[in-house]
């Protein structure tokens, strides 16, 4: 019961058959495997947990420096360092299983069968509730162009993962494309249960005194509030065209920025870089959304999702 004597608004949403107690989760790669943020944000209070991207074999990642701050954003070139799917199942998953929170495992590969293989192992592991398929990584067989850059390869990966799992499949789109709607529709047709967007924008920054790139990898992925307008635009474009739920990601640093995504049509949101700004950010966002619903007399977050009025901006 809240101060007005009414029941608190319902925050529950459903993504590909999975019910989340609220629409807020961390973004992959910014939350490790769940343990690091536990002292700040009780995992049980989150809508879901999303892990760092997992590949078939362990990967060392890129040499440092791996990150650089940019105006209202940051570049990262971690290089998808991870322990590999077997170590993940053996060493990281048991910790997550102890909690009462859906576990979404982010996966990637350099070839279609690698994606399929990781999906299969995770589906049998127990304690995994959904897969989030990162298609922003380079397709080594096709000259390094990202799977997510072309509708055909994006659909191919989606279908391969779907074929190897009974878990809900969320496909995470890259924003570095001419037409995000085209990719989204291809992935939806290939059987994705949900879409998450956006991954990072490809960027670069230079140490002008030494005339070298700030990142050893030269380019990196841009994230943070700087990219939020691009992310909100893409979520709005895609949510208006697909039937499956969309998860909004990109530059959320407070509940107002999360609300932008929900109003634009996202059914849930992920907080990435925002957690570095404040390790309690996911909880602040949950509380902020609840307060907003109460203030606006809304009983259910569903009333908010996609509620943008576009006829007049005044």
């Amino acid at each position: 019961m809240n101060s007005t004597g009414n029941r608190p608004p319902s925050l529950a949403v459903s993504i590909g058959g999975l019910t989340l107690k609220n629409p807020v989760m961390p973004a992959s790669g910014t939350f490790g495997y769940g343990e690091e943020y536990a002292p700040f944000a009780d995992l049980n209070r989150l809508g879901a947990v999303v892990t760092k991207g997992i590949s078939l074999l362990p990967r060392a990642g890129n040499p440092p420096p791996r990150i650089m701050e940019t105006p209202a954003g940051m570049l990262n070139a971690v290089g998808l360092q991870n322990v590999g799917v077997r170590a993940f199942v053996a060493e990281k998953l048991p910790y997550l299983r102890q909690h009462d929170v859906p576990v979404i495992v982010n996966i990637f590969g350099e070839a279609v069968d690698e994606y399929a293989a990781v999906a299969e192992i995770l589906s049998r592991a127990g304690g995994v509730h959904a897969l989030e398929v990162n298609i922003s990584c380079p397709n080594v067989k096709k000259g390094g162009i990202a799977f997510g850059a072309r509708p055909e390869s994006a659909a191919e990966v989606t279908a391969a993962v779907r074929g190897n799992t009974d878990l809900p499949v969320i496909v995470k789109l890259t924003p570095n494309v001419t037409d995000i709607v085209e990719i989204a529709l291809a992935v939806e047709s290939a059987g994705a249960h949900a879409l998450s967007l956006i991954n990072t924008l490809l960027g670069m920054s230079i140490d002008v005194e030494r005339r070298v790139p700030h990142l050893q990898n030269i380019t990196g992925g841009l994230s943070g509030p700087a990219v939020r307008p691009v992310a909100v635009r893409m979520v709005w474009q895609v949510a208006g065209r697909v039937k499956v739920p969309v998860i909004g990601v990109g530059g959320i640093v407070d509940s107002a920025s999360a609300l932008e995504f929900l109003i634009a049509g996202a059914r849930a949101v992920q907080v990435g870089t925002g957690q570095f700004v404040n390790p309690r950010m996911t909880l602040d966002v949950i509380e902020g959304i609840e307060a907003y619903l109460e203030r606006h007399g809304m009983k259910d977050v569903q009333d908010l999702i996609g509620s943008l009025q576009c006829t007049s901006a005044r």
Binding site: T30, E36, P64, V78, Q81, G224
Partner: protein
């Protein structure tokens, strides 16, 4: 913030009062400091702990920092009373070996900050060994960049100073006098702790390659989360022949055994 004083050109000593409970920090640990309500700079900056005390229930944290760029420049302009976002203590600090007689500190520039807190810690230890001596080798670019010398001198048996330009102490780099004294250190009774710029640490790693004296170094890398979650702060460690492996400065570090790291 209780105070923020310029102690040498471009170097500041900041004292923070912490309103929420905080665990006792180990020397070598750090905090992530951020100015709230600003998206530029966006990320918190890691700063080593220079001092820590509890007075009447309130914890006080001391930082010693050098203006290196945008974030530290903005910090340096803040005045008493401003509220900062502080996360910590974080990371693995220096391993304390109370039974050793000789503690050698090697500080380059602002690297003196965590080593001062370490020296204070050793001075406060119950007397497991008699006549423990703490010797500090301090190097800086010039006399103006020598910060925190007085406080360090009060804590050490001996402080050896070098400056690149010879404006204070011996002219040269701090590893030179250390190298000369190295043969006199008793292997089983001595530990070296170092913190400073990469070039200094690399030189030290070279010098100690064959030495039986253990050495712990505190290293720096850019950080985002400070908690081990983002993998942004990786440094390479020596592993098998061609295998590359990275550890997190914020979680496995910032203090490492000098021989564990890959200095290439």
């Amino acid at each position: 913030m209780l105070s923020n004083r310029e102690t040498a050109p471009g170097h500041f000593h900041m004292v923070l009062g912490l309103p929420v409970p905080i665990a006792d920090p180990v020397p070598g640990q750090f905090v992530m400091v951020r100015m709230p309500d600003r998206l530029d700079p966006l990320l918190a900056r890691p700063l080593g702990i220079y001092g820590f005390s509890r007075q009447a229930g309130e914890a006080r944290l001391e930082l010693l920092y050098r203006v290196a760029g945008k974030g530290t420049a903005l910090l340096s302009g803040l005045s008493t009373g401003r509220v900062l976002q502080v996360l910590g203590p974080l990371g693995r600090g220096f391993r304390i070996v109370p039974e050793l007689r000789t503690v050698i500190l090697v500080a380059g520039g602002i690297g003196i900050a965590p080593l001062t807190f370490l020296a204070e810690h050793y001075r406060g230890l119950p007397a497991v060994v008699e006549g423990r001596e703490i010797v500090c080798y301090v190097g800086a670019r010039c006399s103006e960049a020598l910060v925190g010398l007085e406080r360090m001198e009060a804590l050490c048996s001996r402080v050896v100073v070098t400056t690149d330009d010879g404006t204070c102490g011996a002219c040269g780099i701090v590893t030179e006098p250390l190298g000369l004294d190295l043969p006199s250190f008793r292997p089983g009774a001595t530990v070296i702790y170092a913190c400073g710029p990469g070039a200094m640490l690399r030189c030290l790693a070279d010098m100690l390659r064959e030495s039986p004296v253990p050495c712990q170094v505190s290293v720096e890398e850019r950080m985002a989360c400070g908690l081990g979650a983002c993998l942004g702060c990786a440094v390479a460690i020596r592993s098998g022949e061609n295998a590359l492996s990275y550890v997190r400065v914020c979680k496995e570090g910032p203090v490492f055994d000098i021989h564990e790291l890959d200095w290439k």
